[in-house]
Symmetry: C2
Subunit: 194 residues, 2 copies
Amino acid sequence: MSYSKEKWKGGTLLAPVPPALVTCRDNGNDNVLTIAWTGIINTIPPKTYISVRPERYSYDLIRNSGVFAINLTTEALVKACDFCGVRSGAKVDKFKETGLCASDAFSIDAPILDDSPVTLECMVTDVIELGSHHMFLADIVSVDVAKELIDPSGRLALEKSGLLAYCHGEYYSLGKRLGSFGFSVRKKKKKRRK
Amino acid sequence: MSYSKEKWKGGTLLAPVPPALVTCRDNGNDNVLTIAWTGIINTIPPKTYISVRPERYSYDLIRNSGVFAINLTTEALVKACDFCGVRSGAKVDKFKETGLCASDAFSIDAPILDDSPVTLECMVTDVIELGSHHMFLADIVSVDVAKELIDPSGRLALEKSGLLAYCHGEYYSLGKRLGSFGFSVRKKKKKRRK
């Protein structure tokens, strides 16, 4: 397909992005909020970021505590994921409203979601004030993985979790698997005949 | 679903992420490379980033020119997308090898991909050296949109483009639409009876 393009003004039209449920705690206050402005920024050492509006209730919790957790979301979590993006922890107990269950993280003082298959525990290293959002750069200090998704060989069968994607204002499930990294240059195994 | 977690060491297990084809140009040299370490970092003004290993051929092109373009990828581009992530522009002409066609960008001196439905034209504002990767923070100066996907009301029908997602080493299509932002709190319209 070859498209003919027209120029629009600058905007945030990157897709798909991960609609993550971010959990945080400060002074015994736990909260959970949805963040799509996240990504990996470094491999070695592993680093990520989240960009948060300073007006959001969780902003001060994260700024004060210096930690947060990124919980990947699934089809089963789509309603909770949406709710935690539009309602504020200043007004409602989002754990109670959504039925999300949390445990304590392994490495940081924050809750992690039992309903999420993978959680990235993060420690803030820098905050960059960019405009509408402030960017929290963070080290990924541990990754918490659902035991139920680890197959006998030790591999994480993440494809069984039904991850969510967010794309131009809509939530999607993932569809067909189309190939694995490197498939375009991999030599095909020759079929052997007996 | 409630999972029981085990702690793994820190890693880059965020998913799904956008497997973008990034285009760049310096001194008349054009290149295209695949980048999954990208995301939106600010809404107003619109800002994004890409994290690139300094060893990659495109690193110097982007560092010298101060511009790049993020081209969203589709199912039709999955092979090109994979190829441009594993082969280097120092050794092969990736446009020639993949058959990708490019035009000149509207706002920056770089190529943009005709095969991509949406391109974000970006101007670098900062470079942060994080470790294995350097992070290019950038203003999104324009968004180039496929005319063929703009419906009569002016809405971009991005769902028709068949966007790709990248998840834990695998490429996926998007699946079912599960709801739009805010659906969890939206009041249902009452059915009117005549």
